[in-house]
């Protein structure tokens, strides 16, 4: 089985970054929700980095949507990175669900970080 991991890193710039490595689905959804909870509890913006995620499904999207709602509802920034390293299924499910209309999607992690660190308005201009 391929490696899979979820990490939470607190950045100085005012956001926490949740990074997903490998494949994620219902079997890691609880771990993901708890990582997103930790990131949010740090009190600043939240970035979810999917640039090294090979696979995600609708169970993962549900967790992202809940986190997005919570964090932006608080007036904080939230952004997600879907880049060249993201697996085909990751790009596909974002495209299918039209998620980029709901949330700020960036190709580069540093752009996402800048946006999420400066509040919800900037992060929705992706």
């Amino acid at each position: 089985m391929s490696a899979r991991a979820i990490s939470v890193l607190r950045q100085n710039g005012g956001a926490s970054v949740v990074t997903l490595l490998g494949e994620h689905d219902l079997s890691t959804a609880e771990e993901l929700r708890s990582a997103l909870g930790d990131a949010s509890a740090a009190g600043d913006g939240v970035v979810v980095d999917l640039s090294q995620a090979h696979f995600i499904d609708s169970a993962v999207l549900s967790a992202l949507i809940a986190s997005h709602r919570e964090v932006t509802g608080d007036g904080r920034g939230w952004a997600v990175v879907v880049g060249r390293g993201s697996g085909a299924a990751v790009r596909r499910i974002f495209e299918l669900t039209g998620l980029d209309a709901l949330m700020a999607v960036y190709e580069r992690a540093d752009d996402a970080l800048t946006a999420a660190s400066s509040g919800p308005e900037a992060a929705s201009e992706a």
Binding site: S2, D25, L26, F55, D57, A88, A89, R92, T97
Partner: protein, 132 residues
């Protein structure tokens, strides 16, 4: 095109087994030289169908065979994957933990999806993909 045979798989219905099933199907797709982006669509659909079994099929208590059964085969330009359970049968849930994206994702990526009561008990979901 190589004749890479069929795939049949029965595993206990649990979240931990979802990646296992996906990897088995990925191997099957490899054997049939099925490229991206179709392979990603197939893996998405299979994952959603299995997630539905884990989340919805067996919620009304323990069953004798709380399994997920998957079969995959290719006939000419059509790939067919079926997922069946022996659960309570297909039924709407007003208390679903999900956002209701599973079936719509399946319908969006398949050429055809059929949902019907499985023989004896449970639900059968048959998903077809066109290789053309």
């Amino acid at each position: 095109m190589s004749e890479a045979g069929q795939l049949e798989l029965t595993v206990p219905s649990s979240a931990e087994n979802i990646p296992l099933i996906r990897h088995a199907v990925a191997g099957f797709l490899d054997g049939h030289s099925i490229p991206e982006p179709l392979a990603a669509d197939v893996l998405l659909a299979v994952t959603e169908a299995c997630t539905n079994v884990v989340q919805h099929a067996y919620i009304d208590g323990e069953r004798d065979a709380a399994d997920i059964e998957l079969a995959a085969e290719r006939e000419g330009p059509v790939l067919t994957i079926s997922v069946r359970d022996h659960g309570r049968g297909f039924a709407p849930r007003v208390d679903s933990p999900g956002l209701g994206l599973g079936l719509p994702v399946i319908a969006a990526v398949t050429q055809n999806v059929e949902i019907r009561p499985a023989p004896e008990e449970g639900t059968l979901v048959v998903m077809s993909f066109s290789l053309d």
